[in-house]
């Protein structure tokens, strides 16, 4: 945890998905996510800035505020915002179309 991005506290999950799907090294992965979110890469690990941004984009928060997207809904919004193909989201749409 001393060197990690902090997952939903910041943009760690988004950078992880970029590495998984696009196979980008860390700097390129951060640059990709930063561009999608219209922020500087250094902002991606800023808990305050990312919490506000995640609320604004409604892409999931680490705190359980009511009314904000969670679970599959958050992932669907992440997929759209960051141009990811998220398996569980694809399966949801296959079941609900």
């Amino acid at each position: 945890m001393a060197i990690g991005m902090g997952g939903l506290r910041t943009a760690g999950d988004l950078v992880a998905r970029t590495q998984m799907e696009k196979k980008l090294k860390i700097r390129e992965a951060k640059a990709y996510v930063a561009k999608k979110l219209a922020v500087e890469p250094v902002t991606l690990a800023d808990e305050y800035a990312m919490a506000e941004l995640r609320k604004k984009l409604d892409i999931g928060l680490i705190i359980g505020l009511t009314g904000y997207a969670k679970g599959l809904a958050a992932k669907a919004r992440i997929a759209r915002t960051c141009d990811f193909r998220i398996n569980s989201v694809t399966k949801l749409f296959e079941k609900t179309r």
Binding site: M5, D13, M20, I26, A45, G71
Partner: protein, 337 residues
């Protein structure tokens, strides 16, 4: 240890790696940087702003549920995922069986898939399904169908030893594909191969070929964590795309994992328990530095108990763990842990 002793051990560890694997060791500036990290007076150390990396979590829910070798908490797998995501703040999590190998998972694949479907409904971070290839589970010595190659080798039966490994490798590949397809169907984000090649080159062979097929036939990302810094030559005549597998070092392993189509590679350097932390860290850094230079997919260094500089202890000391992690980021330039 004095500062001079620590520096001498860092250099000796780096030189050991350089000599064994024919890689460039650490440079003068890098030795000084590692020394500075190791002798920092704080209990925990961290990286500069902007150098944070991704934490992928092999073993996953096992660490937060009832497995006696981990926390032993009375939580379900789904609750374990929630702990990892919302309490610990991990970047990814992983579902796995307490008998954490592909062969036993096959029998309960649909039960595991149910956990994956449940977890995918409520989680936001990427979820892998993880297991060890564990070729040994296909041998009769561990309840499998094939004679153990070590028993055959003891009696001078080299040809038979190779044949049994090839049969076991075929079975392993079949089981990996079976599980992968079920997990893909359940919405998993990825498949994690843990301790790959623990049983040598035949296991690595099966894993690489399985990864190719997983990438061709499913939507899963693949992460590959290794078992050791060198592939044991149990068979010695298996190759992958023209490269013989026996005797490969981490940078060579990573290139093949990349060719097979994996998204992330996790090198391992085994901790030598008779040597100091600085020695092991210097050695691990020399190996991993070469991996990050030569392998083009993200490098997620394995940094648990007994690997990549971390001391071999059931409860790893955090001062050593954070120093090893910081050094790996700042000197070996890893993309994740």
């Amino acid at each position: 240890m004095t500062k001079d002793q620590i520096k001498a051990d860092i250099e000796a560890g780096s030189n050991d790696a350089a000599e064994k694997a024919h890689v460039a060791g650490l440079t003068g500036d890098e030795f000084d940087h590692v020394l500075e990290i190791v002798t920092e007076p704080s209990r925990y150390v961290s990286v500069e702003h902007g150098r944070e990396v991704v934490l992928t979590r092999d073993g996953g829910v096992l660490k937060y549920t009832g497995a006696s070798r981990y926390s032993g908490s009375s939580l379900s797998k789904e609750q374990g995922i929630t702990v990892g995501e919302r309490v610990v703040g991990l970047d990814t999590m992983e579902l796995g069986n307490s008998d954490y190998s592909f062969k036993p998972c096959k029998a309960i694949a649909y039960d595991e898939a149910q956990h994956m479907e449940n977890a995918q409904m409520v989680s936001i971070i990427p979820l892998f399904y993880g297991a060890m290839p564990n070729l040994g589970s296909y041998y009769q010595s561990l309840g499998g169908p094939w004679p153990a190659p070590t028993d055959l080798l003891k009696n001078g039966k080299i040809k038979e030893s190779r044949e049994t490994q090839e049969h076991a490798a075929d079975d392993l590949k079949t089981d990996i594909i079976y599980l992968a397809k079920i997990m893909d169907q359940s919405g998993a984000d990825g498949l994690d191969f843990d301790t790959t090649a623990a049983y040598g080159d035949a296991e690595f062979y099966a894993s690489l070929n399985a990864i190719e097929q997983v990438k061709r036939e499913t939507n899963l990302a693949v992460e590959v964590g290794m078992a050791g810094e060198m592939i044991m030559g149990m068979h010695c005549e298996l190759d992958y795309q023209g490269t013989r597998l026996a005797g490969l070092w981490p940078h060579q392993q990573g290139k093949l994992v990349e060719k097979a189509g994996a998204s992330m590679f996790g090198p391992v350097v085994n901790t030598r328990t008779t040597k100091s932390f600085p020695w092991n860290l210097g050695r691990a850094l020399a190996f991993v530095k070469t991996v990050t230079k030569e392998v083009q997919i993200p490098i997620h260094c394995n940094m648990g108990m007994g690997v990549c500089g971390v001391p071999m202890a059931e409860v790893p000391p955090m001062d050593a763990v954070t120093r090893a992690a910081k050094a790996m980021v700042e000197i070996a330039d890893i993309d994740g842990v």
